[in-house]
Amino acid sequence: MEDNVILRVATKILTPYILLFALYVQFHGDYGPGGGFQAGVIFASGFVLYTLIYGLETARLVLPLRVASLCGALGVLIYAGVGIATMILGGEFLDYDYLNSHDAEHGQHLGILLVELGVLTTVFGVMVVIFYSFAGRREAK
């Protein structure tokens, strides 16, 4: 599909908006519909679209497989790291109240945001890795 100009241009225009929308879903998540899962999938779908149009080779230049799988691991670390942080700060695991020493509610917002960020990273990473692996299978053979 690399020679189809309309698709190429449309993709170029669309991709940033998809990514942006993913971020919107992510940051809106703690007081509206949305959250890390959805955001992660949408974020990944941006890259999937890009890959479909521009080919795996190009996509891997933008986002190497290594980085994607790194994201998958990193997200879990962010998530668990928040939990550990709350424990160090004196609360129970994932008790966000302790994240902000002045205002428990601020702590809640911060906590949920960070955790969802972890989820986003992981879901995005894993989705891309899955897609790369399946898409790259034919090449490998």
């Binding site: 509206g32 519909p33 899962f37 894993v126 899955i130 692996s133 399946f134 299978r137």
Partner: protein
């Protein structure tokens, strides 16, 4: 209570049986995964529909509404969906590997090859 009152459950049961049937009857490994997916989807519907309360709105705080649907099943099933995706991905990747190793994704052919070894 009449049968129509349980409409969502009827859908669930029908879907579940379709999925389950594919899972059992199909010899094609990919189709089995599809069957599994349908099977799991029926459970998603079961959960989501049970959170619905008649006359209630989406669980977003709004001063015009006082009755909200139960958000908890949605959250639960979000997790289950993710699990389902992971299962499908893993299952399909296994199928790809099996195809590379055996050159087939038909169960009976694979069994035949295993037996002849």
């Amino acid at each position: 209570m009449n049968a129509v009152g349980f409409l969502n459950y009827w859908f669930v049961v029908v879907l579940m049986m379709i999925g389950f049937y594919i899972l059992i009857a199909q010899g094609n490994l990919v189709k089995k995964i599809i069957g599994l997916n349908i099977f799991q989807t029926s459970v998603f519907i079961l959960y989501i529909s049970m959170g619905k309360i008649e006359g209630a709105t989406a669980p977003i705080l709004n001063s015009n509404w006082s009755v909200y649907s139960n958000p908890l099943p949605h959250v639960l099933i979000l997790t289950a969906i993710v699990v389902g995706v992971a299962t499908s991905a893993l299952g399909l990747s296994l199928v790809v590997r099996i195809h590379e190793a055996y050159g087939s994704v038909e169960e009976d052919q694979i069994n035949e090859m295993d037996r002849s070894v």
